[in-house]
Symmetry: C2
Subunit: 201 residues, 2 copies
């Protein structure tokens, strides 16, 4: 199977980290794709009309999207435990994934405002509102870090990726002093080999 990716795509990174956790990395061929919002890419558009990264292309040609579906597919394939099968643990893990993915969506919109949109058309309040979602999410997480301890599931893995991307693109956020419990969790979780493995293609 093949996964479309770019090294800076946080959602592709999440799938790769899940693949490492599940022992599936060797079974995936990573294919580089470049997607710039607002620029056509007809070749990639034939694979996925939304032109989002990543998509998983199975050996039979079937395409699976988005990242949160791909990781569950990989989990089923590996017989993994990243997705609790049912009950409160499942909804807790999936809700944390939704929160982390939403943080990423907001960060990406702020990033597009910074580097994709023509400078004269940028709207600082929009950018600030997106980054504010990171802050309110971090505040919410700070109050509930007790529920994160020792969890390795799709929720915590997604959160690790969201914080990685926030640090990559918005180092000035300087969130750690304000949310020390999240920072402590991130430091501990970041020690997992999957979290700091480099792209080796």
């Amino acid at each position: 199977m093949k996964l479309s990716f770019s090294p800076a795509s946080p959602f592709a990174r999440k799938v790769r980290i899940a693949a490492i956790e599940l022992g599936l990395l060797d079974q995936i061929e990573f294919i580089s794709a470049t997607v710039v919002p607002g620029q056509p890419n007809d070749e990639y558009s034939r694979i996925t009309p939304l032109k989002k990264l990543p998509v998983l292309i199975l050996d039979n040609g079937d395409v699976i999207l988005d990242s949160y579906v791909i990781v569950e597919y990989l989990d089923e394939l590996a017989g993994g435990t990243l997705f609790p099968r049912s009950g409160p643990a499942r909804w807790q893990a999936l809700t944390l994934q939704s929160l982390a993915d939403g943080m990423l969506d907001a960060a990406l919109l702020a990033r597009y405002e910074d580097v994709v949109r023509p400078e004269a058309l940028r709207w600082p309040e929009w950018r600030a509102a997106q980054l504010d979602k990171l802050s309110t999410s971090l505040a919410s997480l700070e109050a509930t870090t007790g529920t994160l301890a020792n969890r390795v599931d799709i929720g915590t893995l997604s959160l690790g990726c969201a914080l990685w991307y926030a640090d990559l693109r918005f180092p000035d956020l300087n969130w750690r002093p304000h949310y020390p419990r999240v920072a402590a969790w991130a430091e501990a979780f970041g020690k997992r080999p999957s979290m700091h493995a480099v792209w080796a293609l």
Copy 2:
């Protein structure tokens, strides 16, 4: 349980339609929430830091997000069949949901460009690129409508909602003559009572 909503939120509509299909509508209290991108809403932010619609608030206070998690929760609660449990049918349904939700995300970004962003800061190419995602998605669907026939699952239900929103906000798209098979599917699927039930609160 309670669901936050606004009548024009396509993702809240999707959850409501799923609730109707699953026979759960009477068990959900719908609570109106107003979320305007870029405007603070501290009260709602305390419920969900991302300030997205909808969220499901369980009787024990647990919050479930996003809509694609909520609908699966409701499906499990009702013992429903909107989510195939495993295997190719599951990934096909979830991938179609991702495609439809991605169409909605693109449509919402175009809508924000039209009505939220100050007029002087609007970027027509961005709006066009978002709406182009609707067109490329419709073209992809037109080639695969055979896989949609007689399916009532979270994928087809999501697609019905995406097309509803496209018609609501972008009637000028006039997509039906260009994608007649999707149009025929949408007309047939739209006859389901859940699809044309009105909000009655």
